[in-house]
Amino acid sequence: MTYNFDWSVLWRGQSGLWLLQGLVTTIEISVVAWVVAFTLGIFSGAVRTVSITPLRWLASFYVEFFRNVPLLVWMFFWYFAVPPLLPQPLQDWLFDHGAEFWAGVVALGVYHGARFSEVMRSGIQSIPKTLFEAAVSTGLTMAQAYRLIIIPIALRLIIPPATNESLNLIKNSSVALTIGVAELTFQTRQIETYTAKAFEALTAGTLIYLVLCLAIATTMSQLEKRFAIPGMITKRQTGEF
């Protein structure tokens, strides 16, 4: 007896449509969550390197708290624990308008924001402190120095680790199926239960994730080349900034 592969289940019936819907949902939730995560990460990562102590503590608290609690717990938290705190009409409105999607976005965004924050912080800390001093010495305020000098440089430096984090975010978006978001993994499971073809469905899902991640990794490395600081790539190889 052998397992009979039947790849046609992937395009027979509704499977193809489901995979496509799952892919679209995965992209939607990942993109929106990424924007949240990236914004939070850049901001809090930068704040963690400034000399204003209360702000730095606040940012550190955010990072440590959100990064060290498992994502699954956050999914349940934002979906089950938060809505009851809202007024009833708002709750109903949310539940009628994809509350699970938005809970998933917030959970992913805030969790990965904390992780992006660490990436950003170490990026900024790899920039010599005297560069910041030189910037403020010309009369730029601290905020201007960060906005015009420190953050633009850090963003270029962190492209490789930030790409990694972005790919993690995409993979982690599948955790949202626990609160009912019909993303890609959800749909592969769906195909599996409808067609009872586990290997085929799983393989299809895996391949789609792989292609998605490859596409992003390629785009990011193009981006890295495009925005490379002139002279820096060769310098970085010799261990200098």
């Binding site: 001093e133 010495s137 010309t138 600081i229 002139p230 820096m232």
Partner: protein, 242 residues
């Protein structure tokens, strides 16, 4: 122009500036020297408030840095600073490096700022490097851009912290020449350097520091010709034998 009154500074338990009293008047060029770790950098970094002090008072251009209304960004537009490690913005061209502060801080129009920047590049001797990125310049050229960047804000005071220490010997002179010109144009300058030739030729006064204190100060010819304190003698002995 700059006045230190009984200034003390600590880094934690480390007492780095001890009862410093120093006056620099307008148009004066003061060279600060002394052994490593004696507090020279800390001293000039206090002038533009990159470091804060624990006691005493510093007055720059008639304004006390302890004044509650004091605004460090405002002060820094009047006080340019050049560092040992040139610290150019690596993601910007030479021109952008120079025009950034004038446009963002003073609100100068882009065209106006560029005109000023080109004049300054001319002045520091690299008019053809406007569109180049810092990584493609030699050390001496980078330091000259850094000087031009500081001058673009039209400061009243220029601070130099060992501007030539990171340079290959053949590039030191091109930077010192620019600084000499600047001094001859009447800029108020405080220069931390071990370039004794420059000090002799350009400085109006030399300040010698050791262990956080000003040990000796005087005209270059007096200081180099007949140093009073044993520590200065020892220090000069070491430097000049190299």
């Amino acid at each position: 122009m700059i006045e230190f009154r009984d200034v003390d500074k600590w880094f934690g338990s480390l007492h780095v500036l001890k009862r410093i009293n120093l006056k620099v008047s307008g148009g004066e060029v003061v060279v600060v020297c002394g052994p490593s770790g004696s507090g020279k950098s800390t001293l000039i970094r206090c002038v533009n408030r990159l470091e804060s002090i624990q006691s005493g008072e510093i007055i720059v251009d008639g304004q006390s840095l302890l004044d509650p209304k004091f605004d460090p960004s405002k002060l820094r537009t009047d006080v340019g600073m050049v560092f040992q490690s040139f610290n150019l913005y690596p993601h910007m061209t030479v021109l952008q490096n120079i025009t950034l502060a004038p446009t963002k801080v003073k609100g100068l129009a882009a065209g106006e700022a560029e005109k000023v920047a080109k004049e300054l590049l001319d002045r520091v001797g690299i008019p053809d490097k406007a569109g180049v990125y810092p990584a493609n310049l030699s050390g001496g050229q980078q330091q000259r851009v850094a000087i031009a960047r500081a001058l673009a804000m039209k400061p009243k005071i220029m601070l130099f912290d060992e501007p030539t220490s990171a340079l290959d010997p053949e590039m030191i002179n091109e930077v010192l020449e620019v600084m000499t010109d600047l001094a001859h144009d009447g800029m108020t300058m405080v220069v931390v350097t071990h370039e004794m030739g420059f000090a002799r030729r350009v400085a109006h006064r030399v300040v010698f520091m050791d262990e956080g204190q000003i040990i000796e100060e005087g005209k270059p010819e007096t200081f180099f010709g007949a140093p009073q304190s044993p520590r200065a003698q020892q220090f000069l002995g070491k430097i000049l034998s190299h």
